[in-house]
Amino acid sequence: MSYALNTALSGLWREKWVNFLCTFTIAAGLLIMSMALLAVFNVQKVMERMPDRFSVLVFLKDGMNERPDTLIKKMQALEGIKSVRFISSQEALKELRAALEDPDLVLGELEGNPLPSSLELRLERDAVADQSVRLIAQKAGEFEEVDDVHYASSVLRVIQSLQLYAKGAGLAIIIILGIAVLFVSYSTVKLLLYRKQDEIDTLKYLGATKGFIRAPFLLEGAFMGTLAGMMALAGLGLLYATMHMEIGSSLPILAAMEAPLALLPALPAAGLAIGVTGAHMAVGKIRF
């Protein structure tokens, strides 16, 4: 083992520039792969939280300022409804004032309260989908006390297609880059093998086993892959910090992005796996 380790380390040092370039390329690939993975992860997270924040607003006809208990019961009986909250016109105005930065500038000129009373419908998790939300809105709109029904249909559709396409595209990027990174690792070791063919032949004549010949190459691959994984992790950390501190203030969606802690060991482990697999493929079958 110490022979294999010494040979691997001296090989890494002797071909340091080629090895560094290869390590850097694997790291870049892993970084892009993990960024794609992060995007998929965050879209998934948003989708998981969506049902809790998503609501359908049912606007009641003018003059309905008292809590309509019968209508609330009917709404609660609809399939997919988790809770129903009555928002009186006064309460709606209060909420609007709280939401506005300078409410007097916008609402100062208004006489009276132009806002209608409404019901806020919160949905069961499974019901938060384009089709079922549309059905709930349609049924809610059929009650005679109801004036209009609103929900963020475009947001719902965008996020759903994001989930579908981002997941697909993310997976495709991960697979394509994974193959590319593996190929880089394979090519580098193959190049080293061509350069070391005489050495390998000499080892064979001296009675070296396949394992003895292979071990230094696998160790070189493992070392380069792990280092590449750690470089990618550092790059990702740097990007993440930049996103939070620099760009996050102007683009809050970026600041809200999360990175799963599992990436900490996963990136070096993925680098290790890629390095060893590439080296193993490059050494290939040793024939005597």
Binding site: D198, K204, F288
Partner: protein, 219 residues
């Protein structure tokens, strides 16, 4: 020790060895000679299992080579030392080149150190242990090659034109080392086209020509 019976070998349509039958005894020093392309290297390669015959039988130390599996080849080769015309030294110190044979067999570091220095002393290169091959003369490089081949105490030493790139005096020095090794009981097969090396030695010489072998004595 080594027996060839009706061995033949063809590369594409070119028949290199034809119906080869000969025997080399344990502890013997024998020469294989013949013009370039006569098949000397192919014959040696068959003994250390780099080439396999198309027909016939080869027995080495009573083992038929057909009974040796691919996984057994490395262990079998450890019984045979090989010295090459082009030395085939690695870009490491003389010590590391010679030690490699013992590292392959998994010897202890203490034993390796002792054995390498002992073997280098035998080929008069003890003082060059830390030198890299490119700073050695051709004769010195070949002596490192010999040290690497014999350090594992093989039963057989094969030398494929080991003196072809050396001047006559250096070549004579290499032959002297072979005689010393042979005197310790190692069977040696030395392939060379240089008749001066075996003339007057009394060793058995096998002459290869057009794929056929004919024994003679190095008188």
């Amino acid at each position: 020790m080594i027996r060839f019976e009706n061995v033949h070998k063809t590369f594409d349509t070119h028949s290199v060895l034809r119906d080869l039958t000969f025997k080399i005894e344990r502890g013997e020093m024998a020469y294989i000679t013949g013009p370039s392309g006569a098949g000397k290297s192919t014959l040696l390669k068959m003994i250390f299992l780099e080439e396999w015959p198309d027909g016939g039988d080869i027995l080495i130390d009573s083992t038929h080579i057909d009974d040796i599996t691919e996984d057994d080849v490395p262990y079998f080769r450890r019984k045979i030392g090989v010295v090459f015309q082009d030395f085939r030294l690695l870009d490491r110190t003389v010590f590391e080149n010679v030690a490699l044979t013992l590292r392959i067999t998994g010897e202890r570091e203490g034993y390796i150190k002792e054995a390498v220095h002992e073997t280098l002393k035998m080929v008069s290169l003890r003082h060059k242990a830390d030198t890299y091959p490119q700073y050695l003369s051709g004769g010195e490089q070949q002596r490192v090659g010999i040290a690497r081949a014999i350090i594992g105490e093989p039963a057989v030493l094969l030398a494929d034109e080991p003196t072809a790139n050396l001047d006559p005096d250096t070549a004579a020095g290499i032959v002297r080392i072979f005689k010393e090794i042979n005197a310790r009981g190692t069977t040696i097969i030395h392939a060379t086209h240089n008749r001066d090396l075996f003339r007057g030695t009394g060793y058995r010489v096998f002459r290869l020509d057009s794929g056929h072998i004919s024994p003679e004595v190095g008188l």
